[in-house]
């Protein structure tokens, strides 16, 4: 099994824990955007938006490129594979537990008869 960097998951889940940042990701999923356009769309100062972009970039969820005086933001290449995989892993553990519980219940039923 792949070993995920704990710090990387820390950063990406933390990045996802803010509604504004999730909104930014959804928006970038439809079209790339400058920092100003995002600041405008989310009714926030440019500086504030830049901080959010910084967090998303740090987490590897967004990449940016500055051309002239405008910085363009796009969804990062990494995607959310690691995060999705972690969640799925937990869900499998969880379901395995339920299955085990089912077995026990079955066992008890059989003994009752």
């Amino acid at each position: 099994m792949v070993q995920y960097s704990s710090a990387a998951l820390d950063a990406s889940f933390a990045a996802l824990s803010d509604a504004t940042r999730r909104g930014i990701l959804e928006r970038l999923g439809r079209a790339e955007s400058s920092v100003s356009a995002l600041a405008d769309a989310f009714d926030m100062t440019l500086t504030g938006m830049k901080k959010h972009i910084g967090v998303l970039e740090q987490a590897g969820l967004v990449t940016t490129e500055k051309v002239g005086r405008v910085r363009t933001c796009r969804l990062g290449g990494r995607g959310l594979m690691a995060e999705a995989a972690w969640i799925e892993g937990l869900q499998q553990l969880w379901e395995a537990r339920f299955d085990a519980l089912d077995d026990i219940v079955e066992e008890l039923k059989r003994k009752e008869q």
Copy 2:
């Protein structure tokens, strides 16, 4: 499409952004546990662990039940469906964009000939 409560996603992603809490979830995925046992396993004071459990409980990822003097923690019934769905939704947007880009590239190629 289902409308997720923004606040619920805030809480659950924030809960997942801490390595200790992810560890707790993995552990509870294998077996239920008392608060003391968790505190011991993660080398932390009982009070500190209780805070983590509180965060996880608030996020709906863990449920607890107190019997006598011991509080038992289990994975919450809600699972991580909403979080997985949100991530998947974004990934679909993301892939759709790549597909669109592919179409454009195809178009350009055709015009070149």
